[in-house]
């Protein structure tokens, strides 16, 4: 039947050969795709509100984004996403028209045009050793009518012209073994002060001429007790530091070329300061903030360096930097939580008893605590001071608060998506009211008449706009119920802030969001991070009434052996059902192909000692697992040691009485030679992949049997020298070795070496093939290779008669221990782009042909037909091969502009692509995440199983009606004519 299928398909292909790429028309943009722009968690913010006109705030974020936001609506005026290793260290506005950023560990200084975000200049600063990074943009400093910017990075102080980025002078302090703590520009004295330690026991202060960079004055004082790197500048001539024991506060005064110390015991400020004391890096004029494990302590430095306690705050709170209201007045904003409410208090520095502003705002619980506050003041019409506060919350969202209200809010947590899973929506229920139906029927008719007008080219421009609007805002696609085609789903995303969002695939709106309690910092878990999200319970047969749930797997701390945490979340309500914190460490999660009676999927969690823990912890699950235990294996890839080990359960854990824990027994191991091979990538099948057939019909109706085993591991290793950056190794000393390993027996099915090639390797594994992308040093180009594996042991099953009567063993279960003989075919092609992510489309039954989805370096997604990566491609395919759809061999893979899935959009900072099958076999859903989110629907072989969205049903109905009328009329005519004939 495949031949028939392929023949019919080849007809379809013939029709579509003229346009291999499934491109999009202009008016189809936004019909089934959506794109959301984010910036990430804000690190620094600088307001620009001086002039009338567009008020904006320039922010830099932890996702290395600099953006200019509209203060009225929170929209992005412009945005730049710097590279992943180009973290922003400082940001400021110079001359009122440039945004200055210092990034990449203080090595790149850039100026961007404030109104439109164009790059004005860029300077590379060369440092000599790692150090603190500081960016100082003087506000009123004029040196030879040229404003200078001071950037301290890499142990050197650079003075850079803000006009063109020229480095005027450079002074190396690392050479003097000075650990610079603070750089101050003192406007009154027209000097630059550099303060630092030598060997943490000597305090040095330099005064530097800003014009030429020469030293004016240098004083130093010994401090035998030792100093810690925690310092904060209280004013131009007072520095507060902690000593090495972190129990004594030092106020260092350096007036008139002299340095004076004053020690204050922290205990005298706070009675019970257990744990680590930190100085918060807030610039509070004349004040500083200390953080102990219980309190936030605000203290003021009086004349002579006397420290006086101002306030102890017990609740979670955040402080802003001081803003100057007038020459002498400065204000600080304090945001604190109290009874689920957020209080924003602005107080003048000189008198802490006065509140300039006190606002209480009710904030969604799911936003968590305040992490950062930035304030900006403006003069109201009644000449009093007004304040607006920009608040960064625990879930990374950004809020602007003004006059006691949230003006706007950005869900920037979605810029740090870690993992994605999907959930079906609830089934539509009966009982829709009649009036609603009538209304919708009327709407339906109206819509279709409009569409008909469009089809018949009778529509006026307004009608065209209405049609387009109707298509874009179709309520059909954003309904909260399951649809017949399976296009409507919930995308459940786990973000870096520990918040889980459910997005609707129809329009991308947030259905619910949940700040997972177990992923918040607590006593049990210090630094929780989310790792993965899995579907936990997908009810369909037995437990139809229950809501589906998802499993969030996390870890308390950065190392592999940190305790793990699990959280179970209801996928419809967005509530945490249960959580387990802390548990054993988690290095691997293996969803098993079994579900218990409530449709909960069995999962094996492997800990750092390779012990397997079974979840859910129920006796039923244990029974199911015990019956299958002999066929369940797990393996570990130790990338650092170059070892792959296979394990099987030896029995319940010996060290503790936990029947859900299983000790590993080592079955096999593959040890790679450390001196010549280093593991750079590994890839396996997607666990939910569906394969339709094991046979591949090739030219002349012949058949090849695919080796479809889910227990295959693709592994890529390079020479240790070749694992660095491209260009760091010569072609002779770099090679890439790829393996296909059976993970049950440890048998290496295929091994191939690419001489002169190197990492980075990106791979995708599907059915019986793996496609990987790497760099070819000899050709100076990226390459993509495909390996297809075929089962030789089944190749003899070619007798039609035997197949007809079912005398074959093609469907009987197979074991890896039978060691089937396999052959591999492979081919390589050049590919222009470097790749950030690569995946393959997946459909419900696996019948539709596949497309590779490649996240390019330009942050777009390119769809490439798998037929281009067919190892059987030849330069001159035969007629039969052509009929099969084989494309003549070319040395490079084509990049067809129309086949960009993201069309004109960019998914900035692209990190991953996820494909989810829809119910409709021809269609797959694609979700791409990075700093931005993008979702679309793809039909790799076109929608052969459904009518297109813009199919005119009205036209069809009218045609049918007209035909019926015509039939009746002609029938009557012919009857009449017959009668007349007979009378004649």
């Amino acid at each position: 039947m495949a031949a028939i299928g392929t023949r019919v398909l080849s007809v379809l292909l013939f029709l579509s050969l003229s346009n291999l790429a499934s491109s999009l028309y202009e008016d189809q943009v936004g019909l089934m795709d959506w794109h959301q722009k984010y910036i990430g968690k804000v690190k620094h913010a600088v307001f620009h509100t001086q002039k009338a006109g567009r008020k904006r705030v320039v922010v830099s974020t932890e996702q290395n984004v600099i953006a200019s936001l509209d203060l009225r609506h929170g929209d992005i005026y412009w945005r730049h996403v710097l590279g992943a290793d180009d973290a922003i260290d400082g940001i400021d506005i110079a001359l009122g028209k440039y945004v200055i950023t210092l990034s990449s560990g203080g090595s790149i200084l850039r100026a961007w045009n404030l109104p439109d975000g164009q790059l004005v200049w860029e300077s590379i600063l060369k440092g000599s050793s790692p150090s603190k990074i500081m960016l100082i943009v003087p506000t009123s400093f004029r040196v030879d009518r040229e404003n200078l910017i001071f950037a301290f990075a890499g142990g050197c102080l650079h003075a850079v012209s803000s006009i063109d980025g020229e480095i005027i002078w450079r002074k190396d302090f690392a050479a003097k073994s000075l650990e610079v703590q603070q750089v101050i520009q003192a406007p009154a004295e027209e000097t630059v002060r550099v303060l630092g330690y030598v060997e943490s026991s000597q305090f040095h202060a330099y005064e530097i001429n800003p014009r030429k960079g020469d030293e004016i004055k240098h004083v130093n004082v010994d401090f035998p007790g030792g100093l810690s790197a925690d310092t904060v500048l209280v004013s131009d001539d007072v520095l507060v530091a902690l000593d090495a024991t972190r129990s004594v506060l030092l106020t260092i005064l350096f007036q008139d070329g002299e340095i004076n110390f004053r020690k204050t015991q922290i205990l005298s400020l706070v009675d019970d300061s257990h744990g680590v004391v930190e100085i918060l890096p807030c610039k509070l004029a004349d004040m500083f903030a200390l953080k102990t494990n219980k309190f936030l302590v605000l203290a003021k430095v009086m004349d002579g360096g006397v420290v006086e306690l101002v306030e102890k705050i017990k609740e979670a709170a955040a402080l802003s930097d001081a803003v100057s209201l007038s020459e002498s007045q400065q204000a600080i904003a304090l945001a604190r939580h109290e009874n689920q409410k957020l209080h924003i208090i602005v107080k003048p520095v000189h008198d802490w008893n006065i509140d300039l502003l006190k606002e209480t705002i009710k904030i969604d619980n799911q936003r968590g605590l305040v992490h950062k506050v930035f304030i900006n003041n403006y003069v109201r019409t009644d000449r009093s001071y007004g304040f607006r506060a920009l608040i960064v919350m625990e879930d990374h969202s950004l809020l602007l608060i003004q006059q006691g209200e949230i003006v706007w809010c950005r869900e920037d947590g979605l810029a740090s998506v870690i993992d994605v899973t999907t959930s079906e929506l609830p089934v539509e229920k009966d009982g829709v009211s009649v009036s609603k139906v009538e209304q919708s029927l009327f709407e339906w008719l109206k819509g279709h008449i409009l569409k008909l007008k469009g089809t018949l080219m009778l529509a006026s421009p307004e009608d065209v706009a209405a049609i387009q609007n109707m298509r874009l805002k179709s309520s059909e696609k954003s309904k909260m119920t399951r649809d017949h085609n399976g296009f409507r789903k919930l995308l459940i995303v786990l973000t870096g802030s520990g918040k889980v969002f459910a997005l609707h695939t129809g329009d991308g709106r947030i259905v619910w969001s949940l700040l997972v309690q177990s992923l918040r910092k607590s006593e049990k878990c210090d630094y929780p991070t989310g790792l993965r999200i899995y579907p936990w319970q997908v009810p369909h047969h037995h437990a139809m009434d229950e809501n589906p749930s998802v499993l969030v797997v996390g870890r308390c701390g950065p190392s592999d052996d940190a305790p793990g945490l699990l959280s179970f979340i209801d996928a419809y309500k967005g509530e945490e059902l249960d959580s387990l914190v802390p548990i054993h460490s988690i290095v691997q999660v293996i969803p098993l192909p079994f579900t218990d009676s409530t449709e909960q999927r069995l999962h094996l969690l492997v800990d750092a000692n390779q012990r397997a823990h079974l979840y859910p912890r129920s006796p039923k699950a244990l029974t199911i697992f015990h019956s299958e235990i002999s066929n369940i294996y797990w393996y570990s890839v130790e990338a650092d040691n170059g070892i792959i080990r296979g394990h099987v359960s030896k029995g319940s854990c010996s060290h503790d009485e936990d029947e859900y824990c299983f000790d590993p027994k080592d079955l096999w191991s593959v040890v790679l030679p450390a001196e010549s091979e280093k593991i750079v990538a590994s890839e396996t099948h997607k666990i939910n992949e569906v394969v339709h057939t094991q046979a591949k019909a090739i030219a002349d109706q012949d058949v090849m049997y695919k080796y479809i085993s889910k227990n295959l591991l693709f592994l890529a290793t390079t020479a240790p020298k070749g694992s660095g950056e491209i260009g760091s190794a010569t072609p002779e000393e770099s090679w890439l070795v790829v393996y296909l390993i059976d993970t049950i027996t440890g048998r290496i099915l295929h091994r191939m070496t690419h001489q002169g090639s190197q990492a980075p390797v990106h791979a995708v594994f599907s059915e019986n093939w793996v496609v990987y992308h790497y760099f070819n040093l000899r050709a100076h180009r990226y390459e993509m290779s495909v390996v297809e594996i075929y089962d030789q042991s089944r190749a003899d099953n070619k007798d039609v008669l035997k197949l007809v009567v079912g005398k074959h063993n093609l469907t009987s279960p197979v074991s890896s221990y039978s060691r089937p003989e396999v052959t591999a075919k492979s081919q390589s092609y050049f590919f222009t782009h470097s790749v950030k992510a690569i995946t393959v489309t997946s459909t419900a039954k696996g019948i539709t042909s596949k497309q590779l989805l490649i996240g390019t370096i330009g942050d777009q997604v390119l769809a490439l037909d798998k037929r281009y990566l067919d190892p059987r491609r030849t330069v001159n395919p035969t007629q039969a091969e052509k009929e099969e759809g084989m494309i003549p061999l070319t040395d490079s893979l084509p990049i067809i502009p129309q086949s960009y899935v993201t069309h004109a959009l960019k998914v900035e900072g692209l990190r991953g692509i996820v494909t989810v099958p829809a119910k409709l076999e021809s269609t797959t859903l694609v979700f791409t995440y990075g700093v931005d989110l993008f979702f679309t629907r793809l039909a790799p072989s076109r929608t052969y199983d459904s009518l297109t969205e813009d199919f005119s049903y009205a036209l069809l109905l009218i045609t049918i009606a007209a035909l019926i009328v015509a039939i009746f009329v002609t029938w009557i005519w012919s009857e009449r004519k017959d009668l007349q004939e007979k009378w004649r």
């Binding site: 039947m1 495949a2 031949a3 028939i4 299928g5 023949r7 080849s10 790792l531 993965r532 797997v553 870890r555 592999d560 988690i586 290095v587 691997q588 999660v589 293996i590 969803p591 098993l592 192909p593 492997v606 750092a608 299958e628 066929n631 369940i632 294996y633 797990w634 393996y635 570990s636 890839v637 990338a639 296979g646 590994s682 396996t684 666990i687 394969v691 057939t693 094991q694 046979a695 019909a697 109706q701 012949d702 058949v703 049997y705 479809i708 085993s709 889910k710 227990n711 591991l713 993970t743 099953n797 007798d799 039609v800 197949l803 093609l810 469907t811 279960p813 197979v814 074991s815 890896s816």
Partner: protein, 180 residues
Amino acid sequence: MEKGKGVMGAGRRWAVDFTDNSTSPASRDVPDPLGFSRASLDQDDSAVSRQKKDAEANWKSQKAWEVAQAPFKNLMMMGFMMWMSGSTVHLFSIGITFSALWQPLSALQGVGKVFEPYKDNKVELLVPKLLYIALNLGGLALGVWKLNTLGLLPTHASDWVSSLPPAQEVEYSGGGIPLH
């Protein structure tokens, strides 16, 4: 076929028999005219009717043979059309192929009906019937052959294997590089 039907009057609705074959004078109302010998007439009449019947039988068998050979023309026509339609799957070739399959099939179904008008005790219909069937079978074979050249017949292993689901695996494994 239509012509033969009309001539033979198979679908005759009513008839008046002008010949009077009864021999006993008593049964007749009207006496025979003088000098009329019924016997001689009867004899003569039977000879004529036998002749007539022979002619009819001859004609019938001739017609039956003609009908039996009719599919041959069809066959040639079909062959030509198939040759014209080429070996790729498209609307025209599929249409031709299916008509080539349908015609012989429907003809074979109606074998009895086609030869009914020529049914006669004296006419040997078996051989024409067989020829007719053979020719139609030939047409069918041609259609099937065409179907095969189009690749629409499940005669290859690939046609049978593709619908088979992939074999289930006994073992299950998971793992990889530690999560980070």
